[in-house]
């Protein structure tokens, strides 16, 4: 990849004569240290991204299989037997049905993979790594070595999880939240044995990866900003990545502790989560534990986790919308403060996932109040994004389209959160398809849209080439319409009371009346998956054959990443590190289209970042 860049883009290679120590340093000499065990944050970002793309394809393909079961329960799945093997049971007439245990395994793996491997590692891992050093004017992360470990722990977590797919008892199948006793009692379900063991090991490794990455991001932002880069001059992307890292650093250890107690319960006979259980015709010895304890620990991570997923998208969308509207982001400080407010509130709302779990109803009152307060900073963000478009001169390309699509998704999914956060309404909606619709739109599709916006926008920064615009726009419109076609009808299913995680609705008259809608959703899911394949083809094709980036700053952006040469080696800037004189949003100021951060203030000019 990069060697192609060097040949074709020699002319862009600024400062060729004054190679300094950081450029092409000894850590990048061989193939392995350059592409595999690289410590260059730009390479690590690409590793996170490509690993994330692969996991996204696996996770999405799983959803297609269980959507087939839900949309076309009568159809034979025998044709999937070559891939799924014994999990498709073919009867004497040649009709293949999906094994129930495997249905739940697919649902569980889809959730785990998408939440952790794709939208946490793939999104925050990619863009924090790529953009933090480049946008703050640093040569690399504070600790490139830990950064490398962060990726390889993620990789290892992925290997363990992937291996669990091939267990004879199947991967873990008790839902991505892994509530005990279903997950803690090894015989409660076929996936709760070895599958759950590997699931836990994988996620503990994943926590290590997140913590190593997060420490690095925070340290880098705090300590390694270039001269003049005050906190109030940081682009919103960097603010978002730093806050995300803080959220992860404070909440993931709690998840790890929940898993350690789980491991004790599973393997060493403790009773943290277990009490008075009679299963498989025999009582267990465990008494005194509480399954609710696990739920508290899990959601203490689980709720911040959804912000770990969506906050980087906030940052990316703010930056992309501003650059392509050719306008400053509206209300920069309000945007920063709202991210901080959301991040703070993220830690005191976790029990809104547990209104119906048997917690004291009085406690729910407090969580309702804090949960619905989140709507206020979220509303501020939405209004500010819309106001950023107002009065702009908007370039419509794949990146800005996905940002606009993000705002639409965030509104649609955010508003349904107001229903679910209100405990009284949650009595009706808890664990129905309404919840599925809500979180898929607001943190699934919206986060993906933020990720796509970022990929289309910074692709030239990663590979020195552009992605194909025609395919990108096709990808956008198809995905926007298709994603709504999948998830919007699910609101109605939920409002009709249909519970989630049902293999079949045939046992219930009330839930079995939506066959047509379920077929529609399944077909839409296949179409949307096809469009993502278009994206993946576009991505890999453009790495090698995309339109070559001719100017160093193709979007006319102010931030520092566009001041580094296209094929920058380890160390980013071949000469001295640029200094910063203003905030990153001087677009259309004084009639000038854009003023990069490196341009000194004119006499008497006020810097918006300081006032």
């Amino acid at each position: 990849m990069a060697n192609i860049d060097i040949v074709t883009q020699e002319d862009l290679h600024h400062g060729h004569d004054d190679h300094d120590d950081h450029h092409g340093d000894k850590y990048q000499s061989g193939f392995f240290s350059r592409y595999v065990f690289s410590m260059d944050h730009k390479t690590i970002a690409k590793q996170f991204l490509i690993t994330g793309i692969i996991w996204a394809l696996i996770g999405a393909a799983m959803s297609l299989v269980f959507r087939l079961q839900l949309g076309f329960p009568e159809e034979s799945m025998a044709w999937l037997k070559p891939i799924l093997g014994k999990w498709i049971v073919v009867d004497a007439e040649g009709i293949g049905t999906l094994d129930q245990d495997f249905y739940y395994a697919l649902v569980t793996m889809h959730g785990t993979i998408l939440v952790f491997f794709v939208l946490t590692a793939g999104l925050s891992g990619t863009f924090s790594n790529l953009l933090i050093p480049l946008q703050i004017g640093a040569r690399d992360m504070a600790s490139p070595m830990l950064n490398m470990f962060s990726y390889w722990f993620f990789f290892l977590a992925g290997v363990v999880m992937f291996a669990s797919l091939f267990l004879s008892t199947g991967p873990f199948a008790g839902g991505w939240t892994a509530y005990p006793p279903l997950s803690a009692v090894q015989t409660a379900m076929s996936g709760s044995g070895a599958g759950m063991t590997l699931w836990t090991v994988s996620l503990v490794l994943f926590v290590v990866s997140v913590l190593l990455g997060g420490m690095n991001y925070i340290t880098t932002v705090i300590n390694m900003r270039t001269k003049g880069m005050t906190m109030w001059r940081l682009p919103l992307t960097v603010w978002a990545f730093m806050v995300t890292a803080i959220l992860g650093l404070l909440s993931f250890p709690v998840l790890a502790s929940a898993f350690f107690l789980m491991i004790f319960d599973r393997s060493f006979g403790t009773s943290f989560y277990l009490s008075e259980i009679y299963i498989n015709n025999a009582p267990l010895e465990n008494v005194g534990g509480s399954p609710i304890l696990y739920q508290h620990l899990f959601w203490f991570l689980g709720h911040p986790e959804v912000y770990i997923i969506i906050v980087p998208a906030f940052g990316i969308v703010s930056e992309v919308l501003s650059v392509h509207s050719r306008k400053p982001i509206f209300g920069y400080k309000a945007m920063v403060l709202s991210i901080l407010a959301i991040a703070f509130l993220a830690f005191i709302v976790w029990a809104h996932h547990m209104f119906m779990s048997g917690i004291n109803p009085f406690i729910a009152n407090i969580f309702v109040v804090f949960t619905l307060i989140i709507a206020v900073p979220s509303a501020v963000k939405v209004f500010n994004w819309i106001a950023t478009l107002y009065g702009g001169n908007i370039r419509f390309n794949s990146a800005s389209l996905f940002s606009i699509g993000f705002v639409s998704m965030f509104i649609s999914g955010g508003l349904t959160g107001i229903f679910l956060g209100n405990s009284a309404i949650d009595i009706q909606l808890h664990d129905t398809y309404f919840v599925v619709a809500h979180f898929h739109i607001v943190m699934g599709v919206a986060a993906f849209f933020g990720m796509f916006a970022g990929i289309y926008h910074w692709f030239p920064r990663m590979y020195g080439r552009f992605m194909n615009e025609t395919l990108g726009r096709l990808h956008f419109w198809g995905t926007l319409v298709g994603a709504y076609a999948i998830f919007w009808p699910m609101h109605y299913l939920g409002m009709a009371g249909v519970p989630r995680r049902y293999y079949s609705f045939a046992s219930f008259d009330a839930f079995n009346q939506f066959a047509g809608m379920n077929q529609f959703i399944t077909i839409a899911a296949f179409v949307v998956f096809g469009l993502q394949v278009v994206f993946v083809i576009n991505f890999f094709y453009s790495i090698f054959k995309g339109k070559v980036q001719k100017e160093m700053n193709p979007w006319g952006a102010n931030t520092l990443e566009w001041t580094a040469p296209v094929n920058a080696g380890h160390g980013n800037w071949s000469g001295a590190i640029p200094h910063v004189h203003r905030w990153s949003y001087d677009y259309a100021k004084d009639g000038i289209e854009f003023i990069p951060q490196t341009v000194p203030l004119k006499e008497g000019e006020k810097d918006m970042g300081e006032h």
Partner: protein
């Protein structure tokens, strides 16, 4: 062979797509990049307007299409005393969010269209506007405060337990629903109105609740195969689980609560519409005899032409599980029948005490028989045996 064809056609599709992309890039090179960009801005801004118009039509049309199938709408008013309050706060939230949804979406795509990049146009420098920002912070705060207060009033009303001093079987009925993989065990308290004590280690095939037979309150408890409740009477459901988490879920009564092993939970509600009345409501016709809710007049079982029942006639309240509990999670169905108080009394008369029918006089052999498979025979059993013989 089949998969080879699929793979080949996928590869071909990929090549076609890449070629389409290339052609467009070439044409833009011919026309001039700037020219192409401005054209693209206008057409995609227009697509945005088309999208938002289509989206709004889709949202409202689909809502009206499914109206009669959604809880709280059409004929599906709540069948419990508290359910109406939940439907009310749902409705209020719905109208408020719908207004915000429409306004923000129109603004988003309209501004995107209006301020699309055009030749000779320039963006304006508008970094912030404190007054505007305060306005759109204060308004959501007020609306949210209203929703929080409304919601919490409903919540605390719904979640209130039976008042102290209420008399069982007179002021309320207490029943137990016990979840297991994969079904519900039901227990009614009998004439004394009190559920007897139980212990999980006593559970066996012949004692599904692990009832302690030395507790006399257990002697009149009975285990029906479906939930039958009188209309207008307060019910306290004691929700328990013997193995993993389950959830006691009555969609039409707006009742939902987890069943947690080792920690009984409860839900108090008052059924307000009998099954028979609910069927009548679903099958209602207007003055001309046309069904008000045509989707409920379709055949109940389309696969069976002999079955002439319509959906509204075959309707039953159902109990479902709403917390993932294993591979049979989707099958934990029980019929719930809401009847008149008279019918309830008649039904009670047909139910026999589980103890009288299955346990009395057989305690020793039963318990020994059940425990054959177990290695340990703990001390409590012997003690209980003596107790029971004393009682008898």
């Amino acid at each position: 062979m089949g998969s080879l064809v699929i793979i080949l056609s996928l590869i071909l599709l990929g090549i076609v797509l890449v070629q389409i992309g290339k052609v467009n890039e070439l044409s833009s090179a011919i026309r001039g990049e700037e020219e192409t960009e401005y054209r693209g801005n206008t057409s995609h801004a227009l697509y945005g307007l088309l999208f938002v118009a289509g989206f709004m039509v889709f949202v409202f049309a689909s809502f009206f299409y499914y109206k009669n199938s959604m809880l709280g709408y059409g004929p599906l008013q709540a069948a419990s005393a508290h359910g109406g309050d939940i439907d009310w706060i749902f409705d209020v939230t719905m109208y408020i969010t719908l207004i915000v949804f429409v306004i923000t979406h129109l603004a988003l795509f309209w501004f995107a269209y209006k301020y699309r990049g055009r030749k000779g146009h320039k963006a304006q420098f508008i970094p912030h506007d404190n007054r505007l920002e305060i306005i759109w912070m204060v308004i959501p705060s007020i609306v949210m405060a209203f929703l929080v207060v409304g919601g919490l009033i409903v919540w605390n009303k719904v979640m209130a337990d039976i008042p102290v001093g209420a008399v069982p079987n007179k002021d309320f009925i207490e029943i137990e629903a016990n979840g297991q993989q994969f079904g519900w065990n039901l227990r009614y308290p009998g004439n004394d109105g009190l559920l007897g004590g139980n212990y999980f280690k006593e559970i066996s095939a012949s004692n599904p609740f692990g009832q302690l037979w030395d507790d006399k309150k257990n002697h009149d408890d009975f285990h029906p195969s479906k939930i039958v409740l009188p209309v207008g009477m307060k019910v306290r459901v004691r929700i328990t689980s013997r193995d993993v988490l389950h959830n006691f879920y009555l969609p039409f009564q707006r009742v939902k609560m987890d069943a947690v092993p080792g920690m009984p939970t409860h839900f108090v509600f008052t059924p307000t519409i009998t099954t028979v009345d609910f069927r009548k409501r679903l099958g209602e016709v207007d003055k001309k005899g046309n069904p008000l809710y045509p989707e409920w007049h379709t055949p109940a079982d389309p696969s069976d032409p002999e079955n002439k029942l319509k959906r509204y006639e075959a309707f039953n309240y159902e109990l479902a599980c709403a917390e993932l509990c294993g591979n049979g999670h989707f099958s934990m169905q029980k019929i719930v029948e809401i009847v008149t108080p008279e019918e309830y009394q008649t039904w009670l008369g047909t139910q026999n005490s589980f103890y009288e029918a299955n346990v009395k006089g057989k305690e020793k052999t039963l318990q020994l028989g059940d425990r054959e498979t177990k290695n340990t025979k703990d001390l409590t059993i012997t003690i209980r045996e003596t107790n029971i013989s004393e009682i008898n």
